[in-house]
Symmetry: none
Subunit: 210 residues, 4 copies
DNA sequence: CATGAATGAGAGTTCATTCAT
DNA sequence: AATGAATGAACTCTCATTCAT
């Protein structure tokens, strides 16, 4: 169903970014073609170059939007409590929920981390760091208040987001594997249950035993 | 230094697989060209097609070798003890050591998991499952012996390998980020220290409090 | 320095033609983009299509202006004397001076002549012919008055304008080549000196020896 | 009539260069597409990139061959006589004959000279200089022997090659213009006649009057 | 076992041109 | 008179793959 041309720059741009996001996450940067994105967006390929310098520029725009969004979502929920334990819970649960509701996100992030950021300009690392800084802050305050043991924040961070992201990206794989009854791949597990289990374990790890 | 032609099928094949491994891990499947691999291996491009059906076939050969190797390494160290806690320690430490010594491995695995195995035939999942089964077995026996709490093995598995793999693949990124003193990205941490910290935390999580 | 919009059709048009002239002469017709011209002129690309039918139309406008200008300049100086020798001198010197002062001109003309006029409608040849007719007329009258030998006007014409144009367009090349001391490319020669030398030689060629 | 693939590297390469030469000369660098050349040569487009790095590389190969050929042709005929006047005659006549027999050549050269060598690496200028050096040498020896007046070699060079090249490239134009009887564009002139006229004039110019 | 020559299909990018305002 | 949004057609270049030797 060919739409009439939109003559609305912002809307068109948003539509392109949105479709690019889906495709980049499903197939990765290299395997996604500019034609794919243009086709999915119902616009002419050249328009992508009108708005974004090139394929990398579009990818950058996608990642900027995505990283900002997750940061804002998590920051919004996990700060403002004055109890580090509650904040930790919010961090884990919000990230999990966001990842579930925006399932393109984990693959994008995980690939970028596997690539040492081959496709991203340095500027983008800052955005990744901001998310990490959120957790680092929670742990630091928890430690200051004597409720958390000293921790290696980077490792804890990857225990949380590595696990959650992998649970999302491997969902189809785990479903297939479930047909083989030898192993339980948690194929039926709800994201909420997983996140809660993860949160409880992380809390156990971190809390000073009383 | 141009080598004389080798006239030794197995050695040539091995050399190709080895170079392919490095390149696939560094740049990913799509961004690695058959020319790259042939060039790095010092053989003619057509020879790759003589030995392997096609690019995917070569990739499959690489992954088979890599997944078998890690499985054997980990299985060799972590089984045969009759103490689940010792076995868990061996599992974590061996995986960590392997990942450090074969740094191409984490990127390969992580990408594959982010992709829902787009490049791998189903047969390959079996090999991944075998590694997971190792841990599942340890946890199951630990639970049977009353030393471990019931656990969601899949989540624990990802907490371990997700974290270790990410620590390896992000090493360059974390080093860069370290110049920004606001966050501690554990840039200087040794893999051993990380693995030990991880192991201790996982153990704390799993152990029945006495 | 962004100018306020001009709302002055003729001035805007002239500005566009002027910038197009520079760019066409520097890079040729194909290598000059409509965006280049619009950008250099500080106007929107669509405006070029409003004023000129298309890229070729703009090129035509440029060439019309340029060919008219050189014709008028040369005609103004070289006619009206009743001495063919003086007129010949004026022809050569004026053309040389014009080419030097409007250095975009020689490249434009030379390219057009190398192309068999691929970009120009036939109408344009008439303008080129007019310039040639000027010289033809001088020679014819000189011959009638017994001061010039019979000549092949076309060849003499190209000896003059070919040489002068090439001296202008190759100026940068000749400067570079001058660093190589084996050949003297006349890199430092002033245009006046060159024109005078050329004129004297042409005169020697043409004059009836007395 | 699709030819069977040739499997003869040198022959194929030569065929490509030859077709490229024709097309570049007819339409210029920009207006000639790689598809054109591949099509005319009856080979796959990718083969051009297999043999030549890119379009510019192919152009360079063409120009190398062309400049070497003209130099060798002219050098072969114009040196070895010990009379500068005879050598000058050979220079002009050989160049003229070559230009007539290889009509792609003048356009290629003239365009390059109009462009300040935009498409050519510096290395190529050397080849152009070699041709000029040939004439320079003739003039120098003539002057030493007292048969030629001191001359500005660069100007004389352009009087010769500029004129001859323009007569070739403008041939179609001059034929069209001939329908307009007001001017005589020498449309019917044979190249030999032109060259002879040119040579005689140049000789008159240069010779010391006795 | 190993190679250089050759190809088909497609990818990213550019550009002249038009539309709607 | 002037503009930003949008397009279609081409163009350069790359790459996995095959052929012939």
């Amino acid at each position: 169903m060919p739409q009439p041309p939109q003559r609305n720059a912002e809307a068109t741009k948003a539509k392109i970014i949105d479709n690019a996001m889906q495709l980049f996450s499903k197939k990765g940067f290299d395997a996604t073609t500019v034609d794919d994105i243009a086709g999915a967006s119902g616009v002419n390929k050249a328009l992508l170059y009108y708005y974004f310098k090139n394929k990398s520029g579009l990818y950058e725009a996608v990642m900027t939007q995505v990283l900002d969004a997750i940061h804002d979502a998590v920051a919004g929920e996990s700060s403002g409590h004055d109890d580090p334990v509650t904040e930790l819970e919010a961090f884990v649960m919000t990230y999990a929920r966001y990842a579930q509701e925006h399932p393109y996100f984990p693959a994008l992030l995980l690939r970028e981390l596997s690539d040492s950021g081959a496709h991203l300009p340095e500027m983008m690392f800052g955005k990744m760091r901001r998310l990490f800084a959120l957790l680092g802050d929670i742990l630091k305050r928890g430690e200051a208040q004597g409720v958390f043991k000293p921790a290696i924040a980077m490792v804890v961070h990857f225990m949380i987001i590595g696990t959650l992201n992998l649970m999302v990206t491997t969902a189809p794989l785990r479903t297939i594997a479930a047909q083989n009854d030898a192993v339980d791949t948690c194929a039926e597990c709800s994201m909420d249950k997983i996140a809660e289990y993860l949160y409880n374990n992380i809390k156990t790890m971190l809390e000073v035993n009383t």
